[in-house]
Symmetry: C2
Subunit: 395 residues, 2 copies
């Protein structure tokens, strides 16, 4: 039969990155396209040990149904972890464990957005977030990025427009794709605008723990005395992504709706993941583990930047203080799509920058490079491919 | 701040069953309310063994990101399993692994239903399904249940109405809550109506493997030569629910939309669960394991029915051929809500039947009893509590 797809899903396309990754069965292809954490950063031995213990000592507890909000002991361990530097979980907040932080974007939109409503987003930003929002028929309004985060003048304009946005989506730490970090001053200003105009902030912080240089900046959520901020963080980058585990912190009243949304979607999060997470948080030195990951990423990022400076001086980029990505800018006169295509022909995948724009048809000289996944040898080969393509296109 | 909840989620209430279960910290409470599989049915030793092997031999494969559709080897194993008796996965179908079968109900509604659209449902039926549908603003139209499944005259009326339903939701095997099984003739007739009126069928089959008596009836999906049927099945009842794993089979064109919905929701399903499932399906005798589960449930169901017949002859019920539930009918003159309340006061939880109705305010003499979770000793105690309450109310 011919299915009639709903208005909200009609015309939706799969994520370009996931499609690129699916075609990557070619083992010779070097990928700067993904956003996978470095596999050597996984605490695999600890996970194996805790998994064996849990399945030996409490199999029913791991294998039976659990509650939607999350396994109580795991929630408590995550609450302590979230609050170890700054007060992220306030007295009036609740914390839920979810099946990856994408699910938070899904549920927040489900609970706050009617079809046709406006959602304000950093532009460019994480394209998976755009997908989640658009799956509910949200209309995205982009706010430009400056070196130290979102453009405040533009943001106030968007917040004061009629209709006003249902929420503002931002990634303050090592933003995907630009790698930029929102300054402390700007976080305060963004929060104040949120309060002034009554627009909630959806603060997505998947990379916050991955700082490789500079000083930590407290999450916007830590400034939140009014309950305006919905905070999303993930264990994908500091434990592992295959276990699909993330957490959301927000005002208790909103949390009630998010819990119902989760009941209606996947009932509860995989229990094995939650229990492993609780073990890792309470029985290992997570901060030491995080420092080890940082060291891996610091080396890879610096290696990639050094090679880029050396071999591709035409490519500009802002040195990120953390995260997983470099956001390259090609000189005028080099066609970005053609550059990406020629890289792929030489077996290097990068992501065309327009994929991260609210309006993909806008002119764009940017492309995204990931430094967390490739080996150093492949970083070198990849940069050499880019250099060769640039030389070829510069002629 | 005061959050403005979306129209679709405003007024939604949490599942009454989950709320009952959350309050069940009282260890003395006997629950006939849940729908948990018997913990002694979990293949815990095999899961522990396979988990250890996988985390030893292929930690990165288990812990890294994977693809939205599901781990290829797991999908293939599930496809074979699904087709071992009847052809469920047709040439023009695709199969996706999801985080529990509730997620299928979520994504199908997301992809097929606009706000205000009608979804036809068996009435009564699984209340979690009603929740998923209503989270998208669907308007539910109930179709009455007869002994051998849905009322065909009513169903045709609903299918031929204007507007016609976006899909028809049914649980042909050991329906939740009624325990009834749709006859082969009725399955054929329902499928023919689906084709005649162009209304897709969402066939939910979480209990299909749990037959305790009678002869198997092939899924509606096995009759499907037009692609009208979306088939949902779960590993929660034959492996374990904590791992949140289910699968959906449907026409390839629709599957494209479901995959995008999943990308925008939880990206992909927990990899550990998928890999464990593939091991269980390919390296253990699943049919033997399923026969063991059936034997556990057969004994418990028969024990509960025998005690009910003996101690509570006033309660009528249809003997189910499988599943997890008995659907009790109280005699006229016994107020059902009062009965449920008095049982709870004596520390027995059952679910009031109106919770499963499209319109909860309708008069209802039914209540649901689960026989898979309680021990035999607790089944006896629980039935005795019901007998005492009935004696008290009969006065």
């Amino acid at each position: 039969m011919e299915f009639q797809i709903s208005n909200r899903m009609r015309g939706m396309k799969p994520s370009i990155i996931r499609e690129i990754l699916k075609q990557m069965s070619d083992p010779e292809l070097i990928s700067f396209a993904g956003g996978n954490p470095a596999a050597d950063s996984f605490p695999a031995a600890d996970i194996a040990r805790f998994s064996a213990e849990l399945l030996e000592n409490d199999p029913v507890g791991v294998l039976q149904y659990s509650v939607t909000e999350g396994v109580p002991a795991a929630r408590e361990a995550v609450r302590k972890f979230a609050n170890r530097h700054d007060e992220v979980v306030k007295d009036n907040d609740d914390l839920i464990l979810v099946s990856g932080s994408q699910q938070i974007l899904d549920f927040v939109t489900k609970c706050l957005c009617n079809e046709g409503d406006v959602v304000a987003v950093e532009n460019p930003a994480f394209l998976g977030a755009f997908l989640s929002f658009r799956c509910y028929g949200a209309k995205l309004v982009g706010v430009s990025m400056e070196e130290d985060g979102v453009d405040l003048t533009e943001l106030e304009k968007v917040f004061s427009a009629n209709p006003k946005p249902r929420f503002f989506y931002c990634i303050p730490n090592f933003q995907n794709p630009t790698g930029r970090t929102m300054s402390a001053e700007k976080r305060k200003a963004v929060y104040e605008l949120s309060v002034k105009y009554g627009v909630p902030i959806l603060e997505d912080d998947p990379y916050g723990e991955l700082r490789i240089s500079g000083q930590p900046v407290a999450p916007i959520k830590s400034l939140d005395i009014t309950g305006n901020v919905i905070y999303a963080a993930s264990f994908s980058k500091i434990m592992c992504p295959g276990m699909r585990l993330a957490y959301c912190v927000c005002d208790k009243a909103l949390m009630k709706s998010l819990v119902i949304a989760k009941q209606g979607s996947d009932v509860h999060t995989n229990v094995w993941s939650q229990r492993i997470c609780a073990q890792l948080l309470t029985r290992t030195d997570m901060d030491r583990h995080i420092e080890e990951i940082r060291q891996i990423y610091r080396e890879k990022a610096e290696y990639m930047m050094r090679l880029l400076d050396e071999k591709c001086p035409q490519i500009r980029y802002v040195r990120p203080e953390g995260g997983m990505f470099l956001w390259g800018t090609l000189p005028d006169g080099i066609d970005m799509q053609e550059f990406v295509k020629r890289c792929l022909e030489r077996k290097l995948a990068v992501v065309p920058g327009n994929a991260f724009l609210v309006d993909e048809t806008q002119p764009c000289q940017n492309f995204r490079m990931n430094f967390s996944t490739p080996t150093k040898a492949n970083i070198e080969k990849g940069v050499e491919i880019m250099a060769a393509v640039l030389a070829e296109m510069d002629r």
